[in-house]
Symmetry: C2
């Protein structure tokens, strides 16, 4: 995908002057497709892609300014990166390969063409990593904040749902948890954008994980039974697997992987790092179940049981857990940009 | 698709109490899929559908409260109907068959669960007409207005773009134009919702065309060369075909089909009805080009020429036209719910 920066730079003006069709032309030149599966990209009534051999996966995410992001904390480039990242994470969580992205944006008067170019540069950065093509979308005015809505397709020969976990399966996660929620906490204190992440402190590293999460596909796992991505927090997302699979779960608190950065930052702010790991969302690690197998390259954190949901700590103390974390309709979460800790 | 009304009625409460997951469950029970191509619908990280034989078409539309609709003019049912209608129109404009719809909604505090049920009842009403399945989406809070973003897939053995019009082709439209824009004008005067369209006056009939447009597929047209749906207005949408096909166009003003209702209403408001037909958008009729053929069941309004864009009236007077109509970023259009006449 080639970006025509000179042409865009000349258009760094208010969108009301550029107009909707001008903006669509700019975006179109920024998002040229080289992927042969795209027969027709941006610019007609619909995009056209070749039919796929396997199953087609489709996921959608909406991000609203003031609810999911705060433009005083994130650059447009970072926002674009995260916007596609969360959609990629959903396709990976189904065991699929991400393929085509459709981007709709509602643009307020305060946002100019350069901002939209930066947004797309972030989308394109992660799109290139995952070989995703931007094939279309809709662009319109918004009276209040910036609104992003993306639909990502993917394909999979066999897809993995939330509903196949069986009693006796082990529970695994693919990455450390809690970093993103800690990053958000630090951003809430800092209250300004981070333009450069180097030289990197532990704080900046968790902030980067919040602003530009990097979902990673699961390697080969024999007899995988269920999978979800951790977007709402471990307790909520594990509860989704339990609900859908009609099973219970037992997790060993101290087996939950924590990053060094989270541990250091948590000590500084005086909060138990496991609180971030259990209830903080937006880590975009994968959570899955499978019969135990030492070939699995992931961290085992628990087991699927018949009934009940428990956390056991190293002293052997067992407590039940509820699906607690962030809920988009919970008013207390409104100002916290996606995660809730306190 | 079966709707569990009792269950929903009991939930007619503020969404903050119901919570995001409660809302997703409600929507899920409202949108049961019976279509065999849907392997996995609402409720997992992504939806899964069977791979298609032909080409896959994908279109997306975003509708923002205060920009595209005014809740004092439209019921939630009507809004849901129109929301899917505009997406269906895009797939029909590619010569495709609509298939799967993904719905994302940003819900403000002022909207309750009953409103969302009504919205979905409108979506489902037109979905059933076109055999469209609702397969997923995203639901989140919005701090300001209601935000709708939909992605519709379709399939087509051969799809039709905007770029194939050739010199000598005839220009056709499939339905009367201007009704929707007149309907909006009357709604702007009336400033309240219409709950029943019977008994129907000419005014109510154009209002219904604005609130609940019914896109219709094109029948068989031999040697179809280009097509677009009239969403922004005839002059703008025909200009898109000219731009993409690198041709000019000549239209005969009096050949543009007007409904009796538009003519009567235009007389009452004292404005030339052709102004509505030429510049008013949201008719969702199809505009296409093909070599002239008397088997084509559509209205011929002009011809594709080498260069220039002209309107000729019955007196023989020729004037050039520009792509004028509604532009989402034009501030003067802000309060006009999608169309602009004056």
């Amino acid at each position: 995908m080639r970006m025509n920066r000179n042409r865009m730079a000349a258009k760094s003006s208010k969108l009301s002057k550029l107009g909707e069709f001008g903006l669509i032309n700019s975006i179109q030149s920024q998002c040229r497709n080289t992927n042969s599966s795209v027969l027709l990209g941006i610019g007609d009534d619909a995009a056209a892609v070749t039919a796929q051999k396997d199953h087609t996966l489709i996921t959608s995410d909406m991000m609203i300014e003031g609810v999911h992001f705060d433009l005083s904390f994130t650059t447009f480039h970072q926002l674009g990166y995260k916007f596609l990242a969360v959609n990629i994470s959903d396709i990976l969580a189904m065991g699929g390969k991400p393929e085509h992205f459709i981007v709709s944006i509602g643009v307020p008067d305060t946002v100019n063409a350069k901002d939209i170019e930066d947004l797309y540069s972030g989308i394109l950065k992660i799109a290139n990593k995952y070989n995703v093509s931007i094939i279309g979308g809709d662009t319109c005015a918004s009276l209040q904040g910036l609104v992003l809505s993306g639909t990502l397709t993917g394909n999979a020969r066999h897809f993995v749902t939330r509903s196949g976990a069986r009693v006796g399966d082990s529970i695994y996660v693919t990455n450390t948890l809690g970093d993103s929620a800690m990053g958000l906490k630090l951003l809430n204190k800092r209250r300004k954008r981070v333009h450069k992440f180097t030289p990197s402190s532990p704080g900046l590293r968790v902030i980067k994980k919040h602003l530009m999460p990097d979902p990673a596909p699961l390697g080969t796992v024999p007899a995988l039974t269920s999978m979800i991505d951790i977007s709402d927090g471990l307790l909520i997302d594990l509860s989704h697997i339990c609900d859908k699979s009609k099973v219970g779960a037992m997790i060993y608190k101290e087996r939950i992987p924590l990053s060094k950065e989270l541990t250091i930052s948590a000590k500084k702010v005086g909060i138990d790092p496991y609180l971030f790991a259990l209830k903080g969302g937006e880590d975009y690690a994968l959570l899955f179940t499978a019969p135990e197998n030492n070939k699995i390259k992931a961290i085992k954190i628990g087991e699927i049981i018949k009934k009940g949901r428990y956390i056991i700590d190293s002293s052997g103390k067992r407590s039940t857990f509820k699906p607690e974390g962030y809920d988009h309709f919970d008013n207390t979460a409104r100002n916290s940009q996606g995660n809730r800790i306190e």
